[in-house]
């Protein structure tokens, strides 16, 4: 199982804050984005268009970063911490 996390504004787009997926073998962030796009077209588009940052096991990832069973993949909209 691979755990997917949606933060902040992406929660409304995904319709959930997290989910667990059965990957059936190694895949990539890109393939994951395509799969998400089937149920959430706008979110899939943002992932593939690099409008959101993706992390795999809390390290910043690219579309080519491999994703394996047991990984934690997070979709991160632009940060806005730090007050002003």
């Amino acid at each position: 199982m691979t755990r997917l996390l949606y933060f902040a504004s992406l929660r409304a787009l995904a319709g959930k804050s997290e989910e667990s997926l059965e990957l059936g073998g190694e895949t990539t962030v890109r393939a994951l984005g395509e799969r998400i796009g089937k149920t959430s077209p706008k979110l899939g588009e943002m992932i593939l268009g690099k409008k959101v940052m993706v992390s795999v096991n809390q390290d910043v990832a690219t579309l080519d970063t491999p994703v394996r069973d047991g990984d934690e993949v997070a979709f991160l909209p632009p940060f806005s911490g730090g007050a002003i």
Binding site: L5, F7, A8, S9, S55, Q58, A74, L76, P77, P78, F79, S80, G81, G82, A83, I84
Partner: protein, 145 residues
Amino acid sequence: MSTVMESKVRIQREDFSVTGEIEAIKKVSRNIGGIVTFLGTGRELSKGENITQLNFEHYPNMAEKKLEEIRVKAIADFKIIDMSIIHRIGEIDIGENIVLIVAAAEHRTEAFKACEWAIAELKRTTPIWKRETTSKGEVWVQDTP
């Protein structure tokens, strides 16, 4: 080096004490001569809109890890003695504390540089998000770095 009671980077719901954090960092060395702090607080106005409340969310563990990276790099790059970084999450009212960065150094120039760099770096690299509540509703702020 005294026993560290609490971590020097923290993300927490409760408020922090600026004096308390300064006194904690003072214990690190008797050679501290300048301490620069940045305190970010909740403003009423944002792009002309009247804000009634703020709400912060973070990616647990990854956010703390990024803050620690900022702290370690600031100490190394600016030759300061120590730094602490605290960010609050959850509901924040206007005027309340949001984020605190304390940079302690032998001399003031490095402390100013390190503190100013750290808050810019925090905004750029740390997975924390702000939601503003105005009369028009709630909106997640999408800051461009």
